[in-house]
Symmetry: C2
Subunit: 310 residues, 2 copies
């Protein structure tokens, strides 16, 4: 198929699919709309975990062995901060700090996040257009049996251990989509919109909570295809399955599909989940992406599925 | 001699003398009043070069081979910042960043610099009381043949190359001495006040420009002794001699003594400058401090000189 592609993505799993899409599309034909609900301040520094994961992945800088952060990272800042009695529950690598320090400085000067990220991506030779879902602050917070928790407190400090009752996106109602988001989704040259296999509740829902985004997806001429984040009845990584169980759902692609409802036109479901109660339009594939070949394969399958709907 | 000691100090040379004094005095009997006129913001981070030099020196963390910064430093932040097109004229080490990031965060929360530095010193087991000259911002600026320059622009970016006409300390008139500064100078238990062989014009003058400090020195019961920053008609390090020549002075201990005037009761002058036109009360010593033994030797000579005046 030809045409531009928009991918909605969160963290590591989504970045893998984005890398696959970037590998097969002409330069500049991919736009990634990225979750910023996990963004937070630590030591006063503005940290955008999902955007940075994508910057590292698409520039070939990600640590694929550890599964997060920057390859060849060192930790002298953390060692020194610890020696100064600073809390060390959130690890900031020495090289990683450059993104946070420069971003914080430029945000303080009034520059919007989207402009800063475009500049970072340009410096690193990334052809994919990386758009934060919004330049306005949106904070994912979890109502749990341990109280209302900030996302990173839940995700990193408490290792997703508290039981989650509700997830909310503080600030979302007043947030505006970042420049280019609505335009990319509705663009006549856009031939496919892909929802990455990121956590639906923590990574994709914040994007959909920004007023105008879900409406634009429903109005888009391009088909919306989603890659299931559930493989063999479990999550590949992270708390998706645990969250679903805690919120009273069966851990299955069908439950995720029901959650997105009519927003998604067709699903790419893992073959391990074939024969389940999945009734929405779908294709089957091996959706695990350990290698670049796998990422390309899943990206092609997602675009083929979109093409079949066109 | 017994009693507490106050040392007025700037960068590396002053830190050497402070280290010598700390080595021979009982814990907590040394107070260092430190120049903050060089403090500045870089990438939005609050940097206090002279205070940090003292923190590194007194905690045994300084890079004595390179002559500045932190031993075992790494530079992954700078490499990453450079890859993001950030200016690299001021080098921030990975470990060094911990001081700047944590300081910036705490200043932004309203904590005064003096309190933050006391906490850092405590974390690193430093018994010397390290006091910034002021918690209020004072900025050393140089009027030069290349225009009015911020200190770090002159000192680092332009390597002290412009010819200096005048040095000013913006903000000094409104600055208050940091808590403890005036008290330490005037304390009945203080038996000596030492002006370190730091640059008189760039490191000591800013301290003296804070209203109340010079007056407290003149009123102090303890003798004020100064260690000459000129050795053999030249500066040991840095732009002292160049500045003196540009401002029309002969590069000699006598010219420095004339600059401080009656603020200083006696001078420790290097033997290489004996027989010069030095008429103020003084003792002679080898004032170079390459080793810890030398630092201790010069510290003892300075205190013996103060003791001889008591």
């Amino acid at each position: 198929m030809s045409g531009r592609v928009v991918v909605l993505t969160g963290g590591v799993g989504g970045a893998k699919l984005a890398q696959g899409l970037a590998a097969i599309l002409p330069p500049r034909d991919l736009t990634a709309v990225v979750n910023t609900g996990d963004d937070f301040r630590h030591f006063g520094l503005a940290i955008s975990p999902d955007i940075d994961t994508l910057l590292y992945t698409l520039s070939g800088r990600s640590d694929t062995l550890r599964g997060w952060g920057r390859a060849g990272e060192t930790w002298n800042f953390m060692d020194a901060a610890r020696s100064l009695s600073a809390p060390d529950w959130f690890a900031l690598g020495d090289g990683d700090l450059a993104l946070h320090v420069l971003r914080t400085d430029r945000l303080a000067c009034g520059e919007p996040l989207s402009s800063i990220i475009a500049d970072f991506a340009g410096s690193w030779g990334i052809a994919t257009k990386i758009l934060p879902m919004s330049d306005d602050p949106v904070a994912t917070r979890l109502e749990t049996d341990a109280g209302v928790l900030d996302f990173q407190d839940y995700f990193v400090a408490r290792r997703c251990e508290p039981r989650v009752q509700t997830i909310r996106f503080d600030g979302a109602a007043a947030a505006r989509p970042a420049p280019g988001v609505i335009k990319a989704i509705g663009d006549a040259r856009t031939s496919a919109i892909v929802i990455a296999p990121s956590n639906p509740y923590l990574s994709i829902d914040p994007i959909l909570a920004v007023p105008g985004v879900a409406e634009a997806l429903r109005a888009a001429k391009a088909p919306v295809v989603a890659v299931s984040p559930i493989v063999g009845g479990a999550a590949v990584k992270g708390p998706t399955a645990k969250l679903m169980a805690e919120m009273g759902m069966v851990v299955s692609p069908a439950a995720v599909a029901a959650h997105y409802g009519n927003l998604v036109d067709a699903w790419l479901v893992d073959g391990r989940d074939a024969g389940s109660d999945f009734t929405a339009p779908h294709a089957l594939a091996d959706t695990l992406m350990p290698t670049l070949d796998d990422k390309v394969r899943v990206a092609k399958a997602a675009l083929a599925l979109a093409g079949s709907l066109a």
